[in-house]
């Protein structure tokens, strides 16, 4: 009797062990497959960006033309070279063009160069920009981008976080007061989000900077920047009020409307009514019966919002003269500065891939119905 129980418990233990190792194997396999597929996606995306940013190689022609023209003009205008004969001069021009083309790598065929770009990009070796320099004079793409990153994050990060949490919590409150005056007002105001942030920005500048003279027109800090870090922060805050308000103002109503509708759908679930019947207070109902089951959606939205900060907003930055990433990339596109464009894209691609990868595991953590790698 005892023996058979022992055998049984042994069997049970080995079974548990087996299932644990099975789970581990399944996880491992899933992770590997997922990583490979995501990596392939990133490679394809980045290669397409390289092709597009170079206009399939046509940018080479443009650059070659620019080099040819620039050097011919420079040589023919240089008074020191007046003495040379026409042949000598054209030889000199050809020579300089060759050197410049070699410097930029334009002497090799584009098909091969695109692969080098890809390889470098995937290793996050962004190299040097073609023409652009960072504000401190560096030609390294890394410096050009890193220099703009803090200013982008501080403005868009803060305003988007504020926007996200305000709208989720206001929406939750509204969904419980469906049909109230505020609810109707929010719904009625939601079309205001059709206008982009810079549109509101222009009006805010007009009112608060031009007419009332309360706040600065644009820029990130006062000129010259205060030395004291506290005053610097204060000045930064003052400069952030208008751009942040325009960013929030332009999407708050639509965002609340969205989340409110979302929460309304989930508050009509039977288990929410059941929770109400059970006499739970409304805070517990909101927390455990509405927010908890919808957590995967909220987390997804939040994660995508975070990586969406990468890139900034071109026109809003321009309107407020804000030194953000959006303007940098915009300038890079205008100047065919492919290394900068590619760098910005690959960082976004990696961020997206990592987020998607992590989200799968987060889902499995917050929702018991989701099993990583399960069918």
């Amino acid at each position: 009797m005892t023996e058979s129980t022992a055998v049984q418990s042994n069997e049970a233990a080995s079974f548990a062990q087996k299932s644990a190792s099975q789970t581990f194997n399944r996880l491992l396999k899933y992770t590997a497959v997922r990583l490979v597929t995501l990596f392939v996606t990133v490679v394809i995306g980045v290669y397409l960006t390289i092709l597009i940013a170079n206009m399939g190689g046509y940018v080479d022609q443009i650059l070659k033309g620019e080099i040819r023209q620039g050097i011919s003009t420079a040589v023919s205008m240089d008074p020191a070279l007046r003495e040379l004969s026409v042949e000598q001069r054209s030889e000199m021009i050809a020579d300089r063009i060759r050197i410049e083309e070699e410097r930029l790598g334009l002497n090799r065929p584009f098909a091969i160069r695109s692969l080098t770009y890809l390889w470098n990009a995937l290793r996050l070796e962004f190299g040097r920009a073609m023409n652009m320099t960072s504000d401190s004079g560096s030609r390294l793409v890394k410096n050009i981008i890193l220099e703009r990153l803090p200013s982008t994050l501080v403005l868009f990060g803060l305003s988007n976080l504020a926007l996200f949490f305000t709208s989720v919590f206001l929406a939750l409150a509204l969904s419980r007061h469906y049909g109230s005056f505020i609810d109707k007002a929010v719904v009625a105001l939601s079309p205001t989000s059709a206008a982009p942030p810079w549109f509101y920005g222009i009006f805010l500048i007009l009112i608060f900077a031009a007419l009332l003279r309360w706040l600065p027109f644009g820029g990130m800090v006062a000129a010259p920047p205060p030395d004291n870090p506290f005053e610097y922060a204060l000045s930064l805050m003052r400069h952030m009020i208008l751009p942040a308000s325009s960013l929030i103002l332009s999407s708050i109503f639509l965002s609340i409307y969205n989340w409110r509708t979302f929460f309304l759908i989930y508050s009509s679930e039977d288990y929410v009514e059941m929770a109400k019947a059970k006499g739970l207070n409304s805070r517990d109902i909101e927390r455990r019966y509405i927010l908890r089951p919808t957590l995967p959606t909220i987390i997804t939205s939040f994660a995508l919002l975070l990586i969406g900060l990468w890139g900034g907003a071109i026109i809003t930055e321009t309107v407020f003269n804000w030194p953000g990433l959006g303007r940098t990339v915009f300038r890079a596109i205008g100047q065919y500065d492919t290394p900068v464009i590619v760098a910005s894209t690959i960082i976004f691609a990696y961020l997206l891939a990592v987020t998607v990868f992590l989200l799968d595991f987060i889902y499995a953590l917050v929702d018991p119905r989701v099993k990583v790698g399960g069918n």
């Binding site: 469906y178 049909g179 679930e269 039977d270 288990y271 009514e273 059941m274 929770a275 109400k276 019947a277 059970k278 006499g279 739970l280 207070n281 517990d284 455990r288 019966y289 908890r292 089951p293 957590l295 917050v366 929702d367 018991p368 119905r369």
Partner: protein
């Protein structure tokens, strides 16, 4: 005056607002229920049975047009309570609910044990361990293995979920449980199982039931009394023995005759026509249009007549 009834409902009204006008889902319902008694509320779909359950538990949708009457439960006038008092004193303390669709009435992302234990923690302020202990006891009562406490709803079969829902309704030991079609989504074997569970609980825990169903055959097992609902009103209310052997109201008679029987040559009879719209119910007897025994007086609304201690709303018993 000592209260002899657990529950007394007088003139309970619940109207819903729609674009076409008010839907009179529960229209002046009167109703009494004693201690340790099970009453079955019978009726076909759309006659206001579920609305009655909602009105009892004050689980009102947003489009309520009218909600009035008096509900006295355990000597406490519930209609006089505000929402917060109602939540603290009635919900799951005196009255609990087993919902119609137990499939969706469990939160998919919380363990069922926690959900069953939750009302204990909310209403009796006990610690989680204690509440779970109580939940475990209730699981035993309804025949769910104790290790199911840590499972999630999606890991349970339909029958098990319904048992969990019943365990949940029992956990705070309320004096009244409203069962809103607790078995209508289950197969016959599971239905029989659940009814056995309910019968046992009624004996062991001395709880009163309001069982709302359209299933005459299975409900007869549990009923002490029967109330028949038609078009938002209770048209007959009587003891179970009397009702199942000799229903009084023509509608009840036809309802009983519609139950198929294995033996006997009687064909099951169906009632022709549809119940009247609850938007504009007829002014007279609401069943008159479909009634084979109608006569002149049926154009006026019948009062409730008493016959041998049974109540029936029909002119035939004047």
């Amino acid at each position: 005056m000592a209260e002899k009834n657990l529950l007394t409902i007088k003139d309970l009204v619940l109207y819903f607002r729609t674009s076409k006008g008010a839907v009179k889902a529960v229209d002046k319902v009167n109703f009494e229920l004693g201690f340790r008694e099970a009453v079955v509320v019978l009726g076909e779909s759309g006659c206001g049975k579920t609305s009655l359950a909602k009105a009892l538990l004050r689980l009102l949708p947003r489009n309520v047009e009218a909600y009035s009457g008096s509900i006295v439960l355990d000597g406490l006038d519930t209609m006089a309570l505000n929402d917060e008092e109602y939540r603290q004193q009635i919900r799951w303390v005196r009255m609990s609910l087993v919902p119609q669709a137990a499939m969706n009435s469990l939160n998919p992302v919380l363990r069922v044990g926690d959900q069953v234990a939750e009302p204990m923690m909310v209403h009796h302020g006990v610690k989680k361990e204690e509440a779970l202990e109580q939940a475990k006891k209730m699981f035993q009562h309804v025949g769910v293995p104790a290790d199911f406490l840590t499972r999630y709803a999606f890991e349970l079969s339909g029958g098990m979920r319904q048992r969990v829902a019943i365990a949940m309704s029992l956990v705070t030991a309320p004096s009244l449980i409203v069962l809103d079609e607790p078995t209508s989504a289950l197969d016959v074997l599971t239905q029989a199982n659940i009814f056995n569970v309910l019968k046992r609980i009624k004996k062991e825990l001395e709880i009163s039931f309001i069982l709302i169903t359209h299933d005459i055959a299975t409900s007869s097992e549990l009923a002490d009394r029967v109330a028949v609902m038609y078009a938002g009103q209770i048209i007959e209310s009587s003891d179970a023995m009397g009702f199942f052997t000799e229903p009084l109201h023509p509608y009840s008679q036809m309802l009983m005759a519609s139950v198929p029987r294995l033996r006997g040559d009687k064909e099951p009879i169906f009632i022709t026509g549809q119940p009247p719209s609850l938007l504009n119910p007829p002014t007279g007897c609401r069943f008159a249009d479909r009634c084979p025994q109608r006569f002149g007086k049926c154009d006026q609304e019948p009062p409730v007549f008493e016959k041998e201690g049974r109540l029936v709303k029909c002119w035939l018993y004047e």
